[in-house]
Point group: C2
Chain length 355, copies 2
């Protein structure tokens, strides 16, 4: 593919923020990628432009009927100065899955990947280098047709923005406290819980607030039908280590198939640890924990990679796990994946793409 | 409340479209209403401005995490020249319910109602006068904070736009064909199906497309848990007339509480027709229809008021209802509500607000 033209240069580069103050998604780089879709022309006019406001008609479909999907992945600077991305092809593939489910037009996967690579290459000075930091990449597609008819929009914008982000944990992994939510429901089979669409996140905010008010960090969602089976933690997938085996909820149509989740499964198997993807009844977890058989629980996701769980609140009771410490498996997974991401651990699965 | 200032006048009024070509939500009037929210200041700066594009940062929360809610109602021109709105207080109340569920800040209900009234008053020349036409009012609130953190936005915009809309049916009521959807699910108790948030609509598009491809006009959603009970039709509520009684799904937490639905219930009761709000098993409907006990089925909503159903596709079979004709109750409801809306039928419930 040709180089995506920078149609306009920025007049002045922004000042780069201190690594210590990065947080998540607060600062944006100088450029972004944009491409338009019209029913008659298909996707067209891919371009890199200055990062600048989007002008939309007040009746643009995204404001009213919520056709919006996104992805999230990271670029890292290795110690020897290379720029690395972790499994970007998987994000593009999932973006297309989301687009199709939401009646939005899929992207050419090669072109979309090339857009990410060229934008990151152009903006590589923005990649922070301190341990745990990275350049977060946010590809997203929104419906832009100015019409209030309830039907798929005939116009869309695909955009990619970049934001340098801080270490999720500071210096070390810190176990989180989880509230098992049995009132609010995130998604149900036949719905859109297995794709990354904006409405899933808006719908989760109230339960997240409730968990925080009760002194927990995140919600563990249960299935919407029987409210018996574990689904996801906040916006991460969840794993339980029980009697030395890993158990994680199967992708049943209401759970997002995480790319970190898939990578964790591959790694565990390569280490000879059995992984069961199945229905996970929360009461079985409770009983196994009571018998001392649950040695570790952890979430997996792009933001934190591995997020150890130190406490689970189930039906009015709080179970402390592994004495609030990081488990062996969690630590090994974190060190391995985070190591592969920055080029410090050998990438035997060929997960890393060099920009 | 003071008059909402027109901060800037439009330089030229737009040309008004032909009544015959109005359609739904294609043309917008010259002015709109806007008010901003910031966490520190609350809702502030209510104003009427020219209808113009919204400028948002690419990281504005609405594009990524979908905090967006809306309402829809209509203004009518009566034969004697008055401007009438139908139960706008109910829309504002429901808007606040939606805002709270989506972790968004509620509005001052008086101010919001006043915004609608003043904007419609200013734009009253845009109200079409042909039978069945009206000025559709679309209040909506979107999250505008530029941040990718998954949490409630700290900034919002409340906007109201107006669009002249054509007659839903042309000259007369036309029965629609309904596909009972048993694969896709709209919502489940504990989710957000009982509020008017954008994600519900995006999530419904695929099933709607499937129904159209199979030769039906709309989907009848079943509950997401057992896929046994009727919930809504497309974006309308549904009523069945069985043995002379009206039956409609109870508001169970996954169904939107329609304002037309509430009005229909009040009217039917005032006519001495018994109304049962309860769980409605689709198999019971099927059997009642087979026994010839279902005399009418109709949807209720702002767009069509009353939408008679001529055919129901259930589990592979299509049931024709009332020989594809409009039922007596449907017709009487339509004539009464549409009559009250345009000031032709006495408004004994005080539903109409004169601008």
């Amino acid at each position: 593919m040709n180089q995506l033209i920078e149609r306009r240069k920025v007049t002045a580069r922004k000042e780069k923020p201190d690594s210590a103050s990065l947080g998540f998604g607060k600062y944006f780089t100088d450029y972004m990628f944009v491409m338009d879709y019209e029913e008659e022309r298909g996707w067209h006019d891919p371009r890199i432009t200055p990062y600048e406001p989007v002008h939309l008609d007040p009746s643009a479909s995204v404001f009213h009927y919520g056709q919006a999907v996104f992805e999230g992945l990271k670029a890292y600077r290795s110690e020897d100065g290379r720029v690395l991305m972790f499994r970007p092809d998987q994000n593009i593939k999932r973006l297309n899955k989301s687009l199709r489910r939401m009646s939005m037009p899929p992207l050419d996967e090669k072109l979309a990947l090339e857009a990410l690579i060229q934008l990151v290459e152009l903006e590589q000075e923005w990649i922070p280098i301190e341990k745990g930091t990275s350049l977060y990449i946010r590809p997203f597609v929104i419906a832009t047709e100015p019409s209030l008819g309830v039907r798929p929009s005939k116009r869309y914008k695909f955009m990619v923005v970049l934001t340098p982000v801080g270490s999720y944990y500071g210096d070390q992994l810190k176990p989180i406290r989880i509230y098992v939510e049995d009132e609010y429901v995130r998604a149900v089979t036949g719905g859109v819980g297995d794709v990354k669409t904006s409405g899933n996140y808006a719908a989760s905010l109230q339960a997240q607030r409730k968990a925080e008010e009760l002194g927990y960090d995140q919600v563990l969602w249960l299935d919407g039908v029987e409210k018996k089976y574990a689904e996801e933690v906040g916006s991460m997938n969840i794993f339980f280590i029980i009697n030395g085996e890993a158990v994680t909820p199967a992708l049943n149509g209401s759970i997002l198939g995480g790319i970190t989740r898939a990578s964790v499964i591959e790694l565990l198997k390569s280490w000879g640890i059995r992984v069961r993807e199945e229905q996970v009844a929360i009461d079985d977890i409770y009983e196994a924990a009571m018998r001392g058989e649950v040695s570790e629980v952890f979430g997996t996701g792009t933001a934190a990679v591995i997020s150890p769980v130190g406490a689970l609140h189930i039906h009015g009771e709080t179970i402390e796990l592994n004495n609030g410490l990081i488990g062996e498996v969690s630590e090994r997974l974190y060190e391995t994946i985070a190591g592969i991401q920055v080029g410090k651990v050998r990438d035997s699965f060929r997960w890393v793409v060099e920009v």
